[in-house]
């Protein structure tokens, strides 16, 4: 049969998470179809049609899907399920919200946040904040899977699949979008950035995070944070990197004033190069950092900026 990938998007742009999920889906069960559920989302469907390996794009363009609320998404995906032996979504807050409902309705387990497809029915997934990797086999039934996108390369954009309109399913109206407060930023998205500068409790205030933001702008980097920095209100919740926040794997992760709790490491230890700057030479983060600098961050940040300026940044 085939697999169905549920597209991540905001009705105008296809999220990169989709291209990565397509790569995972190709390894589970080809051909791959992509479902774009949204409203006024034709441009998203066009972008999905270009992903290499995609055989067909389904577009459900109707108001209940504007915000991808879990209840109408469940009804739509369940209605399409008979044609597929695997359904995959990226492990974004959207995918995590609707996909378990689909699994329950189909009476199959969900395999959450896979990091590797070992064979079409066997997968690796991190457990215990990434301190262990479980290899699990789903012998019977449809495979319902969320994908940790940092673990898969994006499918190329050289395809040209047909786009098919599908009807919306009935919406119970039990859930209604009221509003949202999004962090607006010109900086790259955390999960897509090549460089991340991240701050912890050591930053002491939201005001001080501006220092990190300036540094990030020089590097074209995204800004991340530890839970402690979010809990203290220095930065919004969507900055949180870790077991229960975002999982990132940039080329370069620079941590300022972050101690290195396992819950934080779970979200960034697959970064290519990790730099830790901390005034405590025994900070656990130094045990996994490629480059360690024992220093006061309030001195280190301006020093780094000055060194970068010398390099023409």
């Amino acid at each position: 049969m085939a697999s169905l990938v549920i597209a991540e998007h905001d009705n105008s742009k296809l999220g990169e998470a989709t291209a990565k999920t397509v790569t995972a889906a190709m390894q589970v069960s080809a051909p791959v179809h992509v479902l774009v559920a949204g409203s006024d989302c034709a441009g998203v469907a066009n972008a999905a049609a270009k992903l290499a390996g995609v055989e067909k794009v389904l577009i459900a363009d109707a108001p209940p899907y504007t915000r991808m609320l879990a209840e109408p998404m469940e009804a739509l995906i369940v209605s399409l399920a008979p044609a597929y032996d695997a359904i995959l979504a990226p492990a974004t807050t959207n995918g995590k919200n609707y996909l378990p409902r689909v699994a329950a309705k189909l009476d199959v387990p969900q395999i959450s946040e896979i990091t590797k497809v070992v064979s079409p029915d066997t997968f690796e997934r991190p457990i215990y904040a990434g301190n262990a990797i479980a290899t699990v086999q789903a012998a019977d039934g449809k495979k319902i899977i969320t994908v940790r996108t940092t673990a898969f390369a994006a499918a190329a954009a050289d395809g040209n699949a047909p786009i098919e309109k599908i009807d919306a399913t009935a919406d119970s109206g039990a859930s209604r979008f009221v509003g949202e407060e999004l962090s607006r930023s010109e900086r790259p998205e955390l999960t897509a950035a090549k460089i991340i500068v991240s701050g912890g409790r050591g930053m002491q205030s939201g005001e001080n995070f501006k220092l990190l933001e300036n540094l990030a702008d020089k590097l074209h980097a995204a800004v991340g944070a530890s839970r402690a920095a979010v809990d203290a209100g220095f930065v919004p919740n969507d900055y949180q990197v870790g077991q229960t926040g975002k999982v990132v794997a940039p080329q370069l992760y620079i941590a300022f004033g972050i101690s290195g709790a396992i819950q934080h490491l779970a979200g960034m230890k697959d970064s290519k190069i990790i730099v830790a700057i901390n005034k405590d030479e025994d900070a656990p983060i130094f045990q996994i950092a490629d480059y360690a600098l024992v220093a006061d961050l309030f001195q280190a940040i301006p020093e780094m900026e000055a060194e970068l300026t010398k390099l023409g940044y």
């Binding site: 905001d10 915000r67 609320l69 879990a70 209840e71 995590k96 919200n97 609707y98 378990p100 409902r101 699994a103 329950a104 309705k105 009476d107 199959v108 387990p109 969900q110 395999i111 946040e113 991190p126 457990i127 215990y128 990434g130 301190n131 262990a132 990797i133 479980a134 699990v136 789903a138 019977d140 119970s172 039990a174 859930s175 209604r176 979008f177 009221v178 509003g179 949202e180 962090s183 590097l219 809990d231 919740n237 969507d238 949180q240 080329q251 370069l252 819950q263 230890k269 190069i273 730099v275 130094f286 045990q287 996994i288 950092a289 490629d290 360690a292 600098l293 220093a295 390099l311 940044y313």
Partner: protein, 248 residues
Amino acid sequence: MKVIVPVKRVIDFNVKVRVKADGSGVDLANVKMSMNPFDEIAVEEAVRLKEKGKATEVVAVSIGPQQAAETIRTALALGADRGIHVKADGEVEPLAVAKILKGICEAEEPGLVIMGKQAIDDDSNQTGQMLAALLAWPQGTFAHKVEIGDGQAQIEREIDGGLQTVEIKLPAVITTDLRLNEPRYASLPNIMKAKKKNIDQKTPADYGIDITPRLKVLKVTEPAKRQAGAKLKTMAELVGKLREAGAL
């Protein structure tokens, strides 16, 4: 309105997890176990609803081994009124847990189920959503703020881009995120009082649920280890190294 709060007994978040040498799982012998931190937040939220007069009764439920009763006791000490312990040994998968919880909801008819968004052992983040689907209820996941109204609730949710508010009809399932509240500590008098509160003993069979795992765990291994790298003396040296490594 009755509120049901499922609580799971998991390895304490401060414990360094060790993978067993034979690859069969992680070593849970003699390690500290606690209530899943997200479930503590769920208990706290439910108890606050009761204190505000929005909830009439808070029922803590745990599905797990004999010792899961201690986790229910902890919830009772934090202010839950009574408990239901569904005794089950070994791994119970999220889908089976959701099915048992569905049975409990059908018997108890709560107006709300509040539970953790994820358990810090299997990191699945799915049980609440599954329960909502099985009951055909709406859900408010990753809750940052909960406002209970008349027959509905407004849930502010932590999403990838920031915060989103949805209005859901009750009954519903809410799953907690880290910023929903700061759980209290149980006071000694409340710990004493909790000992007298009732815990019903049940089994999965009471709800007609087969808990045989559907996924086969072939092995559990240690992740690739990262080595500590170079300790550098100055920022100039650090930036130089990053330049050499091609990171800048």
